[in-house]
């Protein structure tokens, strides 16, 4: 065991894991965090805490993760390299692990021009793969990034990374995942999957490369709320592919039935993903729709969560 985290135990035991996602508030409103915790607790094995996602300023991922721990829910602290250089990254990792955080997801981060501080200067001192490699080294070799200097203490982290089979060049994507696994990723979570055929092709190559044996691959799913959101995502969100068939299903149902249809599609997707070789779990991103997590996972027969 690298971290003794619940997520690591569930995955190592060979259980089909479920992670959720919690976006911290755009301020310090603790009640908003607690409300989401209430909706997720008991439904998932761990919860990703986003780090200023889409470059919008929010309560810090570390602080929110600590609130989760205090409330009895396990966090996956996300960390982006957009806002921190290697000094801040390592310092934050020491602080986070001292506070009891055991899972960390290494990301490059959405570009700051998308967010609410578009005039900000970015950092990108290192990239996401270099971050994975650096954290692995902190944990396994107890050395600071890029040096032979020893750290004081132990960094017990279950190291995660993200992958996106739906961004070009498609044929390169399994190899990029391989690079993340080689750098030290223990688990990886994908971008939202809607194009099942494309994902299966990706997984075939990933398994041929042996990646499913070297790390835990988790498939990302996001329930669609309505036809408007579906069309918007299909057209405007880079790196997300929604097949016409799904757009049609969401558009063909009456407005008041759209949410139900979205959940139905999501449950079907989860069932299909469970059958794919190499998929060890799902990452359910019910963004600002946490109240549906219990329902989705009940329908998908993924509750109750295993106690390990």
């Amino acid at each position: 065991m690298r971290s003794e985290s619940n997520l690591e135990k569930v995955l190592e035991k060979g259980e089909f894991a479920v992670t959720g996602e919690l976006g911290p508030p755009k301020g310090n409103d603790l009640e908003l965090v607690k409300k989401k915790i209430g909706l997720l607790k008991g439904n998932v094995d761990a919860v990703n805490i986003t780090d200023n996602q889409t470059a919008v300023v929010r309560m810090s991922s570390i602080a929110t993760s600590k609130i989760l721990i205090d409330e009895g829910l396990e966090p996956v602290m996300q960390m982006v390299v957009r806002d921190r250089n290697r000094i801040a990254i390592q310092s934050d990792i020491f602080g986070a692990t001292a506070l009891g955080i055991k899972n960390m997801l290494c990301l490059s981060g959405d570009h700051q021009t998308f967010g609410n501080q578009p005039d900000a200067k970015n950092v990108f001192d290192i990239d996401s793969i270099q971050l994975i490699d650096g954290v692995r080294r902190l944990r396994d070799e107890k050395k600071f990034f890029g040096t032979d200097e020893d750290i004081e203490g132990e960094v017990k982290l279950f190291i995660g990374a993200a992958f996106n089979p739906f961004a070009e060049p498609y044929e390169y994507r399994p190899y990029r995942l391989k690079k993340k696994v080689q750098a030290g990723a223990n688990f990886v979570q994908s971008q939202c999957i809607y194009d099942m055929k494309m994902f299966k092709e990706f997984m075939k190559v990933a398994c041929d490369l042996g990646l499913d044996e070297k790390c835990h691959i988790m498939a990302g799913v996001t329930p669609l709320k309505n036809a408007g959101m579906t069309k918007y995502m299909a057209k405007n969100v880079p790196g997300i592919i929604i097949p016409d068939e799904i757009v049609k299903r969401m558009s063909d149902v009456p407005k008041e039935k759209a949410a139900e249809e979205g959940i139905k599609i999501c449950v079907e997707q989860i069932q299909e993903l469970r059958e794919i070789k190499g998929v060890h779990g799902i990452h359910l991103m019910a963004i600002e729709w946490e109240e549906k997590v219990h329902e989705i996972l009940t329908q998908a027969k993924l509750l109750p969560r295993p106690v390990v």
């Binding site: 990239d127 490699d133 060049p169 990029r176 750098a183």
Partner: protein, 222 residues
């Protein structure tokens, strides 16, 4: 070449308001080739300023000159007399020119008329694109001539992020994804295996992050 944009006329007007005798100096090298601050552009700005001066009774007397390079002392020194006669000097060169003219003639204030933007090239008529960030540790051998530092919006070293969209960068649909270009170039040359290697954490000491840079070459010193 160094590429720049001329500052908006309102900003230039505000800078020049306290002065009467203005020497406007263009540069005949990069900034002239990128059509921002050469002889022609000096003439255009001078005409604009004269019209403003007439309309708004600024009382400006504008003198124009363009030298070959504002980054070399031997081209700046012959301007001594014109500098002496002016209340202020406005440079249409890159930031190097503005600073170096002020260093050569420290008794005079030199104002910038240009925002220096990037090291780039003229890819098509009227279009310039950034190519180099001057980071001091070139990796173009690993990417077959496409710079991830200058041309990837996130400066990534290990392949494309998840935001590549139809070969374009997620930041701007008019911008090519540098890693998409690098991938295709490596593929064209049968060198995709070069992408397998994890490019490790680099030192930024060679860039501006190690403090302002200087080079002393003994063989060039007398």
């Amino acid at each position: 070449m160094i590429v720049g944009d001329r500052k908006p006329i309102e900003e230039i007007k505000e800078m020049l308001t306290p002065y009467k005798k203005i020497l406007l100096v263009g540069c005949g090298t990069c900034i002239s080739v990128c059509m921002t601050g050469g002889e022609k552009e000096v003439g255009i700005l001078a005409s604009e300023l004269r019209i403003i001066s007439d309309l708004e009774k600024k009382g400006w007397e504008i003198t124009e000159d363009t030298i070959q390079r504002q980054c070399e002392r031997e081209y700046i020194e012959p301007l001594k007399e014109k500098f002496d006669q002016a209340d202020v000097v406005m440079s249409m060169a890159c930031g190097v020119g503005v600073q170096y003219m002020a260093e050569v003639f420290p008794h005079k204030i030199v104002l910038p008329a240009v925002n220096t933007t990037f090291y780039g090239t003229n890819v098509a008529e009227g279009e310039w694109q950034e190519r180099c960030a001057g980071c001091g540790d070139c990796v173009l051998d690993k990417t077959l001539g496409i710079c991830p530092v200058a041309r990837c919006s996130k400066g990534l070293f290990n392949g494309p992020c998840g935001g590549t969209d139809k070969g374009k960068c997620e930041v701007n649909k008019d911008l090519d994804c540098a890693w998409y270009l690098i991938y295709n170039r490596l593929k064209e040359h049968g060198k995709l295996d070069m992408l397998d290697e994890v490019m490790s954490i680099r030192s930024w000491k060679s860039s501006l992050h190690g403090g302002p840079r200087k080079r002393v070459r003994e063989e060039a010193q007398k």
